[in-house]
C-alpha cells in the first residue's frame, strides 16, 4: 500500500461500511497504550533508544504469526513526511497531534483499510488504535486486544502487578485503554439539552468534548465521548459503562429528533434545505459555517427530509474541508481567505457530483 493512498482519500476503507446506529454514532475507537520494559519512555529516551524501539516493532512485523489485518503493513517514519502530510493524517484521525508535532522518532503503521494504526514512539512506546464505523466498541476492543496479544509474544511490555500496564501519563496507567465514540448530536444541541447533559456525563467519569473547534465550541455538533478512568476496572467494565451512557445519549438524541420533526417539521425542513442550498451554491465559506451546514444536511438525510445526497458524502466532506486536506488538494499552501474559497468550491463540486 502506498503512502499516497493513505493521504489522498478522505474516507478510509473502514468508513465505507455502515455500522450500527450510524445515524448518530459516526465511529467507535479503542486505543491502548503500551511501553517496553527496561527502556525509558519516549520523552526521556535517547535517539538510539528510540531507534531500538522502532527496530523491535519492525522485527515483530516480519514474524509469521502476524495478524492477517497487518500483513504487508509498513512502518512509516514521521521524519519522512512533510508537515502537510502529517496534518492530513491527523485530520483523518489516523495519527495523534502529539505524534505529528512532538515526536522526534515517531513512526506509524496502518492496516490496508486504515482501521488499525499502531503508533510508535508517541507519548508511549506503542499505541494500538482500532477504528470502526458506527457503534462497535466491543469489536474495536477485541481487535486491539488481539493485536496486543500478538505484539506481546515478541516484545516485553512494562507491567506491574499493582499498577498494571505502565504508561508515561498517570491518566493512562492500568489498562492503558481509551475507548471513545464520535457522536453527532444536532437535535440535543438545537433544543438546548446538551448543556444539561454534559455535566452529568462528566460526573460518571466520562469525558465529552468537541472534535473540531477550539475551547468549548463543537463544530458540526460532533462530540467525542470517552472513558477517563483506566485503573481499577477491567477493559470490559470500562467499555460496558461507556456503552451504557452512549446508548442513553443515542436514545435522547433520537427522541429530540422525533420531537423536532413532530413539533416544527416545516422549520426543520426549511433549515436543512437552506443549509443544503448554501453548501451547493456558496462561493466563500469558512470552516465554522461549513461544519454547521454539513451537520444540518446530515440531520436532514438521517431524518429522510433530504434525498439524493448519501450520508457518507457528509462524513467525507467533514474531513475534506479541514485545512490540511484543502491544502493537499490544492497542492499548495493556502492563506485563510483562499481556503474559504477552495472550501466552497470543493463542497459545491462534491455535492453537485452526487446530485447529477
Amino acid at each position: 500500500m502506498s503512502l499516497n493512498q493513505f493521504l489522498e482519500n478522505a474516507v478510509s476503507e473502514w468508513m465505507k461500511v455502515k455500522g450500527a446506529e450510524s445515524d448518530v454514532i459516526f465511529s467507535s475507537r479503542v486505543r491502548i497504550a503500551r511501553n517496553l520494559a527496561h527502556m525509558p519512555f519516549p520523552m526521556l529516551s535517547t535517539a538510539s533508544q528510540l531507534e531500538e524501539v522502532t527496530h523491535l516493532i519492525k522485527e515483530a512485523l516480519t514474524k509469521d504469526d502476524i495478524p492477517e489485518i497487518l500483513e504487508n503493513a509498513e512502518l512509516i517514519e514521521m521524519a519522512d513526511l512533510t508537515e502537510l502530510q502529517k496534518r492530513v493524517l491527523v485530520e483523518k484521525h489516523l495519527i495523534s497531534p502529539h505524534l505529528a508535532e512532538e515526536s522526534t522518532s515517531g513512526a506509524v503503521l496502518f492496516s490496508q483499510d486504515e482501521s488499525v494504526s499502531i503508533m510508535v514512539n508517541e507519548e508511549d512506546h506503542i499505541r494500538i488504535q482500532c477504528l470502526f464505523p458506527g457503534f462497535q466498541l466491543e469489536k474495536a476492543w477485541k481487535l486491539a486486544s488481539q493485536i496486543d496479544d500478538w505484539l506481546e509474544k515478541h516484545v516485553t511490555f512494562a507491567f506491574d502487578e499493582q499498577c498494571g500496564y505502565l504508561t508515561s501519563c498517570p491518566t493512562n496507567v492500568g489498562t492503558g485503554i481509551r475507548a471513545s465514540v464520535m457522536i453527532h448530536l444536532p437535535a440535543l444541541a438545537m433544543t438546548g439539552q446538551l448543556n444539561r447533559f454534559i455535566p452529568a456525563i462528566t460526573q460518571v467519569g466520562l469525558a465529552v468534548r468537541g472534535i473540531y473547534g477550539e475551547g468549548s465550541e463543537a463544530l458540526g455538533n460532533l462530540y467525542q465521548v470517552s472513558n477517563q478512568v483506566t485503573l481499577g476496572q477491567s477493559e470490559e467494565e470500562i467499555i460496558d459503562k461507556l456503552q451504557g451512557v452512549v446508548r442513553q445519549m443515542i436514545d435522547h438524541e433520537k427522541q429530540a429528533r422525533e420531537r423536532l420533526l413532530g413539533m416544527s417539521s416545516i422549520q426543520l425542513e426549511d433549515r436543512v434545505n437552506r443549509s443544503l442550498g448554501i453548501l451547493a451554491h456558496a462561493r466563500i465559506i469558512d470552516s465554522k459555517e461549513a461544519m454547521r451546514r454539513l451537520s444540518d444536511v446530515r440531520l436532514g438525510i438521517d431524518l429522510g427530509l433530504l434525498t439524493g445526497v448519501p450520508s457518507s458524502v457528509m462524513n467525507e466532506l467533514m474531513v475534506l474541508i479541514q485545512p490540511g486536506f484543502l491544502q493537499q488538494y490544492a497542492g499548495e499552501k493556502l492563506g485563510a481567505e483562499e481556503r474559504d474559497v477552495r472550501r466552497a468550491e470543493l463542497i459545491r463540486e462534491r455535492i453537485g457530483m452526487e446530485r447529477e
Binding site: P40, L44, S96, E102, D160, V229
Partner: protein
C-alpha cells in the same frame, strides 16, 4: 524551565503546547491555572487538553506542597534509572520510565486514587506475566508449607518442598 506564565505573570508556565490557528503554528506556554481558565486544548483526538486540565488540577495539589521552600529540600526521591525527580514528575505530569513507579510508589497511591478512584489494576494481564504470577503464588504457598514442616520436624517432607521451591525459582529466573 522556569519560564513565567505570560497570562498571569505569577506562576511558572508548566504547560507547553503547540496551537494551530488558521494554519499558523504558535508555541504557547501557560501555567495550569490559566490554561484551565482559558479552556485551551489541542484539536484532534487524543492529547485533548481536558486530560491535561484534569491532571494538572490534580497535580497542582502536590506542586504547591512540594514547591514551598521548607519542604522542598527534605525529600527528593529520584528515579535511579531515568533520573526524574518527584518534583519534575509533578511539574510535567509524566513518568520517565517504568521504574519511576517503584521509586515514587509511596506517593502514587493518593494521586492514582484521585485520578482513577482506585490504586489496583483489574484488567488484562500479559500472558507471560500471568505465568510468572502463578509461579510466585505457588512459591509463597510452598514456603509456608516448608516453614510448617520444619516446625513439625517433618524433615523428609521439608527436603522435598525445598527441591520443589528450587525448581520453581529456576523457572522464574529463566
Amino acid at each position: 524551565m522556569n519560564l513565567l506564565c505570560p497570562e498571569c505573570g505569577k506562576r511558572p508556565a508548566t504547560l507547553h503546547y503547540t496551537k494551530i490557528v488558521n494554519g499558523e503554528k504558535t508555541e504557547a506556554h501557560l501555567c495550569e491555572v490559566c490554561a484551565q481558565e482559558k479552556g485551551e486544548y489541542m484539536p484532534g483526538f487524543d492529547s485533548g487538553f481536558s486530560f491535561h486540565n484534569l491532571l494538572s488540577g490534580l497535580l497542582n495539589f502536590d506542586m504547591v506542597s512540594s514547591e514551598s521552600p521548607n519542604i522542598a529540600q527534605q525529600t527528593v526521591p529520584r528515579c535511579a534509572t531515568c533520573g526524574l525527580t518527584y518534583n519534575q514528575f509533578s511539574k510535567i505530569g509524566r513518568f520517565g520510565c517504568s521504574d519511576c513507579f517503584e521509586t515514587f510508589r509511596d506517593r502514587l497511591d493518593p494521586l492514582l486514587r484521585r485520578i482513577h478512584g482506585s490504586t489496583t489494576h483489574h484488567g488484562k494481564i500479559p500472558e507471560r506475566t500471568k505465568g510468572e504470577l502463578k509461579i510466585k503464588k505457588d512459591l509463597e504457598k510452598l514456603r509456608e508449607q516448608l516453614a510448617r514442616s520444619v516446625e513439625l520436624e517433618e524433615f523428609e517432607k521439608a527436603a522435598q518442598l525445598r527441591d520443589q521451591i528450587r525448581s520453581l525459582q529456576e523457572r522464574l529466573s529463566e
